[in-house]
């Protein structure tokens, strides 16, 4: 029998994420306007949020909770997208 060494929480500069955590995904910019309406409530609903790099670049005001940024690889499928190594 082994004891778990997984952390119970992650401390970040923008707050502590208690694990296991519900991490909703949000976007910035004009593509999904409903996200603008839900985002102010995220700090009450979750201890962190996740945003794709493509949308994170459009962020004007940072939400007051820790943010995970994923690669946003889907952006490579956009017209005229280039992939650099």
């Amino acid at each position: 029998m082994t004891t778990s060494t997984l952390p119970r929480q992650l401390k970040t500069a923008h707050g502590t994420i208690r694990l296991p955590a519900f991490v909703p995904v949000t976007t910035f910019g004009k593509k999904y306007p409903l996200d603008d309406l839900v985002r102010p409530y995220l700090p009450r609903l979750a201890s962190a949020a996740m945003v794709s790099f493509h949308y994170a670049r459009q962020m004007k005001e940072r939400p007051s909770l820790p943010l995970f940024i994923d690669s946003g690889g889907f952006a490579s499928l956009f017209e005229n997208a280039t992939v650099r190594s």
């Binding site: 603008d36 309406l37 102010p40 409530y41 009450r44």
Partner: protein
């Protein structure tokens, strides 16, 4: 929950705290008597909310109380920004703390209503709110403000599902039902810091009432107490306080007609004991902390707009709750002065409160809220609208059965449009341009419709300034509407005769067809419009109030209200911007002799009303950078219009506060350019006056008074003539060759109707010919105010 260790909780407060009602996260409705510490509980809930990092809103119905609370809470909640958001701010002066910075927002229900209607502009702070405290929750049942409070609460809860609401009141007959509506819990307590003793003093004749009041008040004052007397009218408050002073009692009066500084002074004088008796209308019923050992209810009835009705138990208890000062009195005393033949007063001490019923069941209130829901984007389809309105108290009380009918009426009236929408797979509701104007200006839809009918009708270009003010004054949003007394009819008739008006010219039937109100309400509309017009000429509220026998505070409130309606009027007649418009959509140049178009006149009138300046001074505002405030300053410095500005020396102009020499020179150049095409008198009205339908009529004879003279009866007496048939009999004497009347109108230098009646009695041929002309002109005569009076108080 953090509580101050130095404060000993009373039993009611302790129960609320022990049960964790304020920290449970659930909404709650707390009903406790006046003075039992509701505000302290609210303060604890606010403290807990702020400490959690969320923001709090405190709603209070009174501006004065909002200011008082903000002062107190700035000291109490140091480290947090406390903002005040009432009608005093926002338009002419900015909020001391902006919305997005405030942690604690003290506001009136109307401000919250505006925030929820324009929620997108407030999205940077509204989701951060965790607590909404609604003081005087029974306001929900008030006819005018209740539906707006209900709409605001309904939208606030929908926009912010985390919102915890705490409702406070001393008088709720259906506390449980209200808590159920809010999905919360209710708490009630009868515990009072000072017990109340109720007494009912009966009178046989109404004329006994002042004596009874003197006796009751004198006994209280002699025993070292203070007395708060509630009456049904401002005049009565003034009259009784004067009588009490005459009896050697330090008394003052308090009502909504006084300006806020005077009211505050009176409240302080009463608090520090300089005044022993304060005679008040309902203004002191809510909010302010102003207890007295004795509360006297001098009048047990009130005017509900149509008739006098008994006071509700809720109102009586709101007033009675002021009895007894904590730490000074062992018992409070409530005295009801009631007629011997009427037993209504017997029910009051039992405190069986009436239930608070939603006002949204009334069509106009529902129409306004439907428009707010659709315009704010919170309801796009009829189904969504239905779902939203199911969150209302009206729905909860099964009093909302007419939504479809009202929506239909609004579609017919052009306030809403139903258009097909592929995304919604059906039709969606959209506000029309008129609908958006109503929402933006927070006006009832009916007001905007009335403006549209008047300003887009065939005769719109013939409307004078007075006509435009009449149009505003007859809307539901004109506040206050100043009633006309019977004995003012002659004076108002004479004033009207000197005014230019299209709406009030022609036959009585023509005139009445142009108005949507009748009888005494129309008389009030006419008087109110004349007051607003006089304000634009004098710019001094005290002077205007003196002329019309009203209060300066009412004149200022009226100017604010009419300015708001005129702003909507400008929007109604401003041509909409079409997508295909070319950038050069400016109107063609006008010749100097052309009448200014309606839009220009309405805009000018809005500035005149906003700043109390006349049609000449307002031409100064046509120059870039001169608003109403500077125009008023220039006017006060002797520069009354653009032409006088052209002739002025820049050095003199620069002596006016806020104007540099460079600005003065620029404006003088601009004015010189302007007067090449526009005269300073371009807005001056030159049409016929209301009385001038009788061309060549002798100036000294007022046609209106002459017509009234025909209704009077004259009898020859030894020492002159007795004239009756009017409000009261009068006597006309012959002094030398001159006739002298004992009426007030004659005293003011007028040729009064009694004098004219006597001259007719004596077969004065000049006058007889004028009467014949009057009959021949008939259809062109001016409005018969007397007839309106006897039509009564019809809508």
């Amino acid at each position: 929950m953090p509580t101050s260790p130095y404060i000993e909780l009373n039993p009611a407060q302790k129960e609320v705290v022990d049960r964790g009602l304020l920290t449970s996260g659930f909404s709650s409705v707390l009903q406790m008597p006046t003075g039992a510490g509701k505000t302290w509980l609210a303060e604890q809930a606010i403290a807990a909310t702020l400490e959690s990092g969320a923001r709090a809103i405190y709603l209070t119905p009174l501006r004065a109380l909002a200011n008082e609370l903000v002062e107190r809470w700035r000291a109490r909640f140091q480290g947090y920004e406390v903002g005040v958001f009432t009608g005093e701010y926002g338009q002419k002066q900015s909020y001391p703390v902006p919305f997005e910075r405030a942690h604690l927002l003290v506001m009136t229900p109307e401000r919250l209503d505006a925030c929820t209607r324009h929620w997108r502009s407030h999205w940077n702070w509204f989701p951060k709110v965790g607590l909404l405290v609604v003081d005087e929750l029974h306001l929900l049942g008030e006819r005018g403000r209740g539906p707006r409070l209900e709409g605001a609460i309904m939208r606030a809860r929908r926009l912010n599902p985390f919102l915890q609401l705490v409702g406070l009141s001393a008088t709720l007959g259906n506390r449980g039902e209200l808590a159920e509506w809010l999905s919360g819990v209710d708490f009630g307590s009868d515990w009072r810091p000072i017990p109340i003793e109720w007494r009912c003093v009966r009178y046989q004749r109404a004329t006994d009432k002042p004596r009874i009041l003197r006796e009751q008040v004198a006994a209280c004052v002699a025993a070292g107490g203070q007395s708060l007397v509630f009456v049904q009218s401002r005049r009565r408050a003034e009259q009784l306080s004067s009588e009490l002073r005459g009896a050697g009692i330090a008394a003052g009066h308090h009502h909504a007609g006084l300006d806020s500084q005077d009211r505050r002074r009176l409240e302080n004088d009463f608090r520090n004991g300089a005044l022993r008796v304060l005679v008040s209308t309902g203004t002191l019923e809510m909010g302010l902390n102003l207890p007295a050992r004795q509360v006297v209810l001098y009048d047990l009835q009130c005017f509900n707009g149509i008739d006098f009705v008994p006071l509700s138990t809720n109102t009586v208890w709101q007033r009675a709750g002021r009895a007894g000062r904590r730490g000074l009195d062992t018992q409070g005393e409530v005295v009801l002065i009631a007629p011997a033949w009427d037993r209504v007063a017997d029910k009051y001490p039992a405190g069986q409160f009436e239930p608070v019923l939603s006002g949204l069941s009334e069509g106009p209130a529902l129409a306004e809220q439907i428009l707010a829901e659709v315009s704010s984007g919170l309801a796009r389809t009829r189904a969504q609208l239905g779902r939203n309105l199911r969150q209302s108290l009206a729905w909860h009380q099964r009093r909302l059965s007419q939504v479809d009918r009202v929506v239909g009426e609004m579609l017919d009236a052009g306030m809403l449009a139903e258009v097909s929408d592929d995304d919604a797979r059906g039709t969606v509701l959209k506000p029309t341009r008129l609908g958006r104007i109503a929402v933006r200006q927070m006006l009832a839809p009916s007001t905007v419709l009335q403006l549209a009918r008047a300003l887009q009708g065939e005769s719109a270009e013939r409307l004078t300034f007075l006509d435009l003010l009449l149009v505003c004054a007859q809307t539901d949003d004109c506040e206050p509407l100043i009633p006309l007394d019977f004995d003012e009819i002659d004076e108002i008739g004479a004033r009207l005769a000197c005014e230019r008006s299209f709406l009030l010219s022609g036959s009585q039937s023509d005139i009445l067809a142009r108005f949507e109100v009748r009888g005494r309400r129309l008389l009030a509309v006419i008087k109110t419009a004349l007051i607003a017009r006089e304000w634009t000429r004098r710019g001094n509220a005290d002077e205007v109030a003196d002329v019309f026998g009203c209060y300066a505070f009412e004149v200022r409130r009226l100017s604010e209200s009419i300015e708001r309606i005129l702003t909507a009027a400008v929007a109604v007649i401003t041509p909409p911007k079409e997508d295909g418009d070319t950038p050069d959509a400016s109107p063609p140049p006008r010749l100097m002799e052309d009448e200014p178009p309606l839009l220009e006149r309405v805009r000018a009138l809005a500035a005149m009303v906003a700043h109390g300046i006349d049609e000449q001074a307002v031409t100064l505002t046509f120059l870039s950078g001169i608003g109403g405030t500077l125009a008023r300053r220039l006017h006060a410095a002797g520069i009354s219009d653009v032409e006088e500005l052209v002739l002025a020396d820049p050095i003199d102009v620069a002596k006016v506060r806020g104007i540099s020499k460079a600005r003065a020179e620029r404006w003088i150049d601009e004015a010189a350019e302007l007067i090449r095409t526009r005269s300073a008198f371009s807005l001056r009205e030159t049409g016929r006056t209301v009385a001038a339908s009788h061309v060549g009529w002798p100036r000294e004879i007022d046609p209106y008074r002459l017509r009234r003279a025909l209704d009077l009866r004259v009898r020859k007496k030894s020492e002159g003539f007795a004239v009756d048939g009017g409000l009261e009999p009068h006597r006309v004497r012959l002094v030398g060759d001159a006739l002298v009347c004992d009426c007030a109108d004659f005293d003011k230098g007028q040729t009064c109707k009694h004098l004219l009646a006597v001259r007719l009695f004596r077969k004065d041929q000049d006058l007889v010919r004028l009467v014949e002309r009057l009959a021949a002109d008939g259809a062109a005569g001016q409005i018969d105010l007397f007839q309106l009076w006897f039509e009564g108080g019809r809508r």
